[in-house]
Subunit: 330 residues, 2 copies
Amino acid sequence: MSRERPRRPRTRCGRCREKAVIELRRHSVAFCRDCFLHYCRQQVTKAIDKYHMLAPGDRVLVAVSGGKDSLALWDLLLHLGYQVDGLYLGLGIGGYSDRSGQVCQAFADERGATLRHHDLAAEHGFAIPQAAAAAATGGRATCGVCGLSKRYVFNSTALAGGYDVVATGHNLDDEAAVLFGNTLHWDTGSMARQFPVLEATRPGLVKKVKPLYRLAERETAAYCVLTGIDYVVEECPLVAGNTQLRYKETLNELEEQTPGTKHEFLFGYLEKAAHLLEAADDATLTACSRCGMVTQAPEDPDQAPVCAFCRTSARLAAPLPQVLPQVIGR
Amino acid sequence: MSRERPRRPRTRCGRCREKAVIELRRHSVAFCRDCFLHYCRQQVTKAIDKYHMLAPGDRVLVAVSGGKDSLALWDLLLHLGYQVDGLYLGLGIGGYSDRSGQVCQAFADERGATLRHHDLAAEHGFAIPQAAAAAATGGRATCGVCGLSKRYVFNSTALAGGYDVVATGHNLDDEAAVLFGNTLHWDTGSMARQFPVLEATRPGLVKKVKPLYRLAERETAAYCVLTGIDYVVEECPLVAGNTQLRYKETLNELEEQTPGTKHEFLFGYLEKAAHLLEAADDATLTACSRCGMVTQAPEDPDQAPVCAFCRTSARLAAPLPQVLPQVIGR
């Protein structure tokens, strides 16, 4: 209508009218540096409030990889006044892992924060390159072993350290891509368990939260750049061919054509469909007969329950050969 | 394993070992002409049996557009011994519609089958180019009006003609693309209503079936080519920018990387998720106060129910101007 106020050019901040540094097409808005940081904190606060992720006084353990998402999350949670320690899991992926650990330690040192280190090879007798070697001969996919190991170590370390919550840096793009993959296969059990918060439904489980699920990948990257957080830009050298990355590309193409596609897909799921799929989460949980951690009960009740991490580490834990030096790099 | 029989080259028919003419990557099989036609008939029989689509003696009305899917369907149903008349809906899209109607009539004449003609402009006072003109100024999207008109006319014609079932030529690609679009938006109501069979749940509704939902688009095209069915290859000139086509492209890219993606997405939905989403179909049905056909009850109980087709035709039915001659072609 002609009587509406003329639209200001998008290069102005939508909040304060200063010169904008970033445009968020899905929200049809642009922000200057300070208002963008305000927006990021606001989105994280909204996530935490909406799903009751964190309570004042909670001891939080944030899983950090050295990448933009997890370091942005740690920074945001510290800024918002939470009591947050970091946990770095050494995956043994050559120079990539070394650099990642150093970046996390430097981040912690600058802020006087506590970073715990846990090393997969030292503690469990295998590292991710063994998984890659095994995957090449038909074993579980490398990224699958890596994800499994992370979930296991994050939970067990938080439990042992008396933490109330584990926070991970999954962003909107990550969550949309996981949901996309599960939806393409209608893996309804996994869909039912994909939520910004997973409560500690039984002893042995620590509550898990994803406070960045409202922020897109390029927003967490921009947050790091604008706040001067030094993070590892390079991708894991073992990630080639990862299906998650393919799904991200597909979603990026759809987003390019229709900004907001990823947001609508993820948020639409959470608001309109997640409750309908709840019934599909029919996993019965029990304690692993080897390590005592929580795992899915085997279908055969006479079979001793052994968790996927114990099965995997038994298979992979062997004297470390010089595997895949050409892949893991320096 | 070395003791397995060596795999025959894919260029041999997987059923009779004759030279193959088509390869179906998602089934890892190739077929010669005759075995491919057998496969198509088998898939349609399987669809009909699985969802109790048709009973012997049913009077079936197949909606034909002149394209490969609907003519293949008519041919397949006749071949399987069903009593099937055709219905051609004239959409008034210039030479495209003229050619489509002629192709359908020739198909019917060759087989001594009955083709009913229904003309949108003559019967309802508007044609699809008016919808395109209105869409250009902010009205309902052209393909939306076309789909709405088809559903309305197919149902009302079947009802008036005493048919038991309306059959449409939606193939696997169509159904996967519709589901994909609805899933991206988590339009759970539409998802709950997307099924290979829709029963006549109340008077005024005729049962709808999609016997081709197990056959891919290139398979219905191949069926026509191999049986010598003459069909209209050109696409509707008004379809440019249709989101359904974009979703088909996206699914084709995913299929290219992983054959079977579309099949798994659609069949996985039907088998694993559709029952969970049933509760989302909360539409209350009533009779349209203008035409008497079944429609969704308005939210405001004091408002007279008017169906979307009556609302649309009232808006569009006007003396036919020379709209979009450059778009609708000869």
